[in-house]
């Protein structure tokens, strides 16, 4: 009873949370749909490193961040970008995105180091009086930091450029610009805009980047977070030259900008000449920001190109048709299962249907809440998983009911049979659900494509099945066993002991209550040691000999009523159900349960 209340509270809490989220938050009462049901475009990209190096999960995470930034900035709402199976990136875009958006997704990202020439506030400036005046035409820039790179064209562009406009923060190949010329670039947060000199060090020349607490020269560890970069051979030489030159320049020209995907992720100033290729970037880093910078640098060290594995467009009408038909299939399946269990289990089928409805409610609520909090989306294979789970869930009830029936056949009363049957069925249900869940988990983690949605709902419904059987079906059975209808085994209750052929049971005080089949109780349950003793042929037990004698005596008058005696012949099981005895049996035990 208490568990039943717990279950009800659980379900109500789930839906209350959902409705509350709907009223006060952004939750929707229906689960969000995946692309194959809603329509849209799905790209599956596989990032490959140029030099055949292994692509790590960190790099993929960084690639996803970059793609997300590009898409978010381009104004496409609700794009979903996930990594799949550790080596692929799935980009799902709702609706029909144009070619530009698709190109944004497919492009690879580059990291470049450029010196800063001019730095200014992000907003466009009307007045052209910048900090630098464009040099006379024809002046050749002496080095990468030379203000001579800033031609009138660059300056005009710089003045008009608006770094607060999200479109300019999308990143992408067109923002990277000519590596041999000066470019205008924004800080990734849109806080500063820069004119940057030509590329001096490339991302590939970074050997490794890491973040950590700063270690002083004496080896003591301070509480300051820093990012460490290590360059490879070429990078070390190039970086030494850069730092040597920048060290003596005035601000802001003593800074070098790290440009990832056309956006400046960091522009530290140079404090010393780095000759060993091991630089340390310090500043107001937190642990996260230091780690992020290190991750971005590492990503830059391994330029990825995205290979399009599959590109799929699903029209919205086709998707909704699929969903409708899928739900129709589920409904038909549910009704068929309901009808079958009513036919098979009579009133017990009602318990099955109630449990299935409870499981359905729980599944719907959980999926809706997951789609709200975790961004889960229901796909067509997911729907298939739920429909398949109807059968698996109903099976738990069948296992349970069959066990109860078995116990009834053994002569137990209903309350006792429910208790006993539950004990045994529970083990079976748990192990079989465990196997199913294991399959779902393995499928989920190793899956690609739609397999994931299927595995997810299959695993979820397996857990729901377990919860419903434990918290709903069993308590309901306990309650039902107390009612007269079930407890006394009404014909239509599906638990009629007579129909089930309940057997003899020792009722105490030497009485044996004989039910469906008249068999002496001691035949089956004879003590093990008494039969087949080691010396010679097996001797019949006293009971068996008496039974044989009685049989021999009663055989000549063939009309002797079978089943009338307390102990009929051992090998002549009577067909007579002996209804009265069975009823009596139930009542006797019903009292003390």
């Amino acid at each position: 009873m208490r568990t039943l209340v717990t279950f009800a509270v659980l379900v109500i809490a789930l839906f209350a949370a959902l409705i509350a989220g709907n009223v006060w938050g952004n939750a929707s009462l229906t689960p969000k749909l995946a692309l194959d049901l809603e329509g849209g475009t799905q790209l599956i990209l596989r990032p490959t490193a140029e030099d055949g190096e292994r692509v790590t999960e960190d790099t993929i995470a960084q690639a996803i961040d970059i793609i997300r930034q590009r898409i978010d900035a381009s104004g496409v709402a609700e794009a979903e970008i996930t990594s799949q199976g550790g080596s692929n990136i799935v980009v799902a875009l709702p609706g029909e995105p144009d070619d530009e958006t698709l190109d944004l997704v497919r492009e690879s990202a580059q990291m470049l180091f450029r010196p800063v020439i001019v730095q200014a506030a992000p907003t466009p400036v009307e007045d052209a009086s910048a900090t630098v005046t464009p040099p006379a035409e024809g002046t050749e820039p002496a080095d990468a930091s030379d203000p001579a790179w800033v031609t009138q064209d660059v300056l005009d562009q710089f003045n008009a450029y608006d770094c607060t406009d999200p479109e300019n923060l999308a990143g992408g190949a067109e923002l990277v610009g000519d590596p041999e010329a000066a470019v205008v670039s924004c800080d990734q947060n849109g806080a500063v805009k820069y004119i940057l000199g030509p590329v001096e060090v490339r991302g590939e020349e970074i050997a490794n980047a890491s973040s950590g607490l700063r270690t002083t020269q004496t080896g003591a560890i301070t509480s300051e977070w820093v990012t460490n970069i290590e360059f490879d051979g070429d990078g070390t030489v190039a970086f030494r030259e850069v730092t040597t030159r920048l060290l003596n320049l005035e601000s802001p020209r003593n800074q070098f900008a790290m440009v990832l995907d056309g956006l400046v992720i960091s522009a530290p100033s140079v404090n010393s000449i780095i000759s060993d290729g091991k630089a340390e970037i310090s500043g107001s880093f937190t642990r996260e920001s230091a780690a992020t910078l290190a991750q971005q640098l590492n990503f830059g060290a391994l330029p990825l190109t995205f290979e399009v594995q599959s590109e799929q467009q699903i029209s919205a009408t086709l998707g909704s048709e699929q969903l409708q038909r899928g739900l129709l299939a589920g409904l038909i399946g549910l009704v068929l299962v309901g009808v079958y269990s009513l036919a098979q289990y009579r009133a017990l089928g009602g318990v099955t249907i109630a449990s299935l409805v409870a499981a359905g409610l729980l599944a719907y609520g959980l999926i809706a809440v997951l789609s709200w909090t975790q961004g889960y989306r229901l796909s067509l294979p997911g729907v298939a998983g739920i429909i398949v789970a109807i059968g698996i869930t109903a099976d738990s009830f069948i296992v349970y009911f069959e066990r109860i029936r078995d116990e009834l056949r053994d002569g137990r009363t209903l309350p006792a049979a429910v208790e006993h049957g539950w004990d045994r069925a529970r083990r079976t249900i748990i192990i079989s659900d465990a196997v199913n869940f294991l399959a779902a988990v393995v499928l989920y983690f190793l899956a690609v494509g739609g397999v994931r949605g299927f595995a997810f709902t299959l695993g979820l419904t397996t857990l729901i099945d377990l919860a419903v059987v434990m918290l709903f079906t069993h308590p309901v059975m306990l309650l039902a066993a107390r009612t007269k209808f079930f407890g006394q085994g009404h014909r239509f209750s599906g638990l009629d002991p007579v129909r089930l052929g309940a057997r003899a049971r020792y009722a105490g005080r030497g009485r044996v209550v004989v039910a469906g089949q008249a068999q002496p109780a001691d035949d089956d349950l004879a003590p093990v040691g008494a039969v087949g003793s080691d010396e010679g042929p097996r001797r019949a037990t006293i009971a068996e000999r008496r039974a044989a004698a009685r049989l021999a005596a009663s055989t000549p008058p063939a009309g002797a009523p079978p089943g009338a005696g307390a102990g009929p012949g051992a090998e002549a099981p009577s067909e007579d159900p002996a209804d009265g005895a069975a009823q009596d049996d139930v009542r006797t035990d019903g009292k003390d349960a």
Binding site: D36, I44, N88, Q309, S310, E311, Q313, S315, T317, L318, Q322, R325, G326, L328, A329, G330, I332, G333, L336, V337, A343, Q344, L380, P381, V388, G391, I392, A394, D395, E402, R405, R409, D410, R424, S432, A434, V435, L438, A439, V442, L443, L446, A447, V448, G450, V451, F454, R499, G501, R503, G516, D523, D524, V528, G532, G536, P537, R538, E544, A570
Partner: protein, 371 residues
């Protein structure tokens, strides 16, 4: 019907009616061998028909079509690339799916235009997809890896749960049997093998084991103390278990097949080619075969394995010898000749604790139950 079935169930449970499934195991082995050979034949001759996800290529979907004739699509593709012979199928009520080999971007655009013209729909009703040639390999590789990891995990779990590696081995043999037959029959039907089909195959793993586990649970319960009694052999007790779970197995498979059948029906007749249809067919075959194997293959095979175990073999020999002796010596009416009627596991009872003892009612307590 129900009452007759439940009467049949009773008889099976009490052992009044019993099918000698374990005893006739050679027959079942032979039957499944025939089906296995048949499946292998299908696989060899008809082969699996890989979908575009495995072949790679371009796919066009035309929606809102009034006339679902295929020829316009074939002509439309031929007008762009004369050598390309597309696969055209109807999806749902008013959509066409056209699959071609690899096309470049301009060709794709031309095909979209041609298809829109051919079916007299606006161009935005034609959507195109592209699948790279390596994508399918990826899916297959992942599926195979999933299979191996799953099998390893499951063998460990089953061995731990049943505390007998032979049971785990028998379950895995039944599993392999199901998988081969399912894939073979699927190839025989000749539908496309899409990632959805692969999902179906992988789900069969879980389902087949699930079914087998329930039967084995009963086998284990019945044979728990089999060596402590001298009446029945291991095989007989196992056979009883199969009979006792027969009704449950039938009910389970019907209940599991009904929803899958519903998807299959809807998928095949209303939706046409697609995820639901492929998944449902794979599951339908797999579940049916899984039920067969859990009854007729798993337990008999487990018994075959088990009888190699010295303790069980010696026990079987002892029981049979004692039985033969009894039959020889006592031609009389004592019930020892044929395998007698059996109910449940033959094991002595145990003390249930003092709480199970009758209690005297306290005189000063009010009558009735207090709750």
């Amino acid at each position: 019907m129900a009452s007759r079935l439940s009467q049949w169930g009773n008889d099976l449970y009490t052992g009044k009616r019993s099918y000698d499934i374990v005893g006739n195991r050679r027959r079942w082995y032979a039957i499944s061998l025939v089906i296995l050979v048949l499946s292998a034949g299908f696989l060899a001759t008809r082969q699996l028909n890989p979908s575009i996800d495995f072949r790679g290529g371009a796919e066009f979907t035309v929606t809102g079509v009034e006339d679902t004739a295929q020829q316009p699509a074939i002509d439309a593709v031929a007008s762009v690339d004369a050598e390309e012979i597309p696969r055209v199928s109807v999806v749902g009520g008013s959509a066409m799916r056209v699959q071609t080999g690899d096309l470049d971007d301009t060709q794709v655009r031309e095909v979209v235009q041609a298809l829109a013209a051919a079916y007299d729909v606006p161009e935005n009703e034609v959507s195109s997809s592209f699948v790279g040639p390596t994508w399918g390999k990826d899916v297959t590789g992942k599926a195979l890896r999933g299979l191996v990891i799953f099998l390893l995990l499951v063998s460990v779990v089953m061995t731990l749960y049943f505390r007998a590696w032979r049971m785990a081995a028998a379950a895995l043999v039944a599993l392999a049997h199901d998988l081969v037959i399912t894939v073979g029959l699927y190839a025989g039907i000749g539908w496309e093998v899409s990632p959805a089909t692969v999902i179906g195959f992988l789900t069969i793993l879980g389902y087949s084991l699930y079914d087998t586990v329930v039967v084995f649970d009963k086998v284990r319960e019945n044979t728990d103390k089999v060596t402590e009694q001298k009446r029945f052999t291991y095989a007989e007790m196992a056979n009883l278990a199969v009979n006792q779970t027969l009704v449950r197995s039938i009910n389970t498979s019907i209940v599991a097949l009904l929803p899958v059948g519903a998807i299959l029906f809807i998928g095949a007749f209303l939706l046409g080619a697609g995820t639901l249809r492929d998944i449902a067919l794979a599951l339908f075959i797999g579940m049916a075969v899984g039920t067969f194997s859990s009854i007729f293959i798993a337990t008999p095979f487990e018994v075959t394995l088990r009888q190699r175990e010295p303790a069980i073999a010696a026990h079987t020999e002892r029981v049979l010898a004692a039985r033969a002796q009894a039959a020889q010596a006592g031609g009389d009416a004592t019930a020892t000749g044929a395998p007698p009627v059996v109910v449940g596991a033959v094991m002595p009872g145990a003390h249930l604790g003092t709480r199970a003892q009758p209690k005297r009612r306290k005189p000063n307590r009010p009558s009735g139950r207090q709750s």
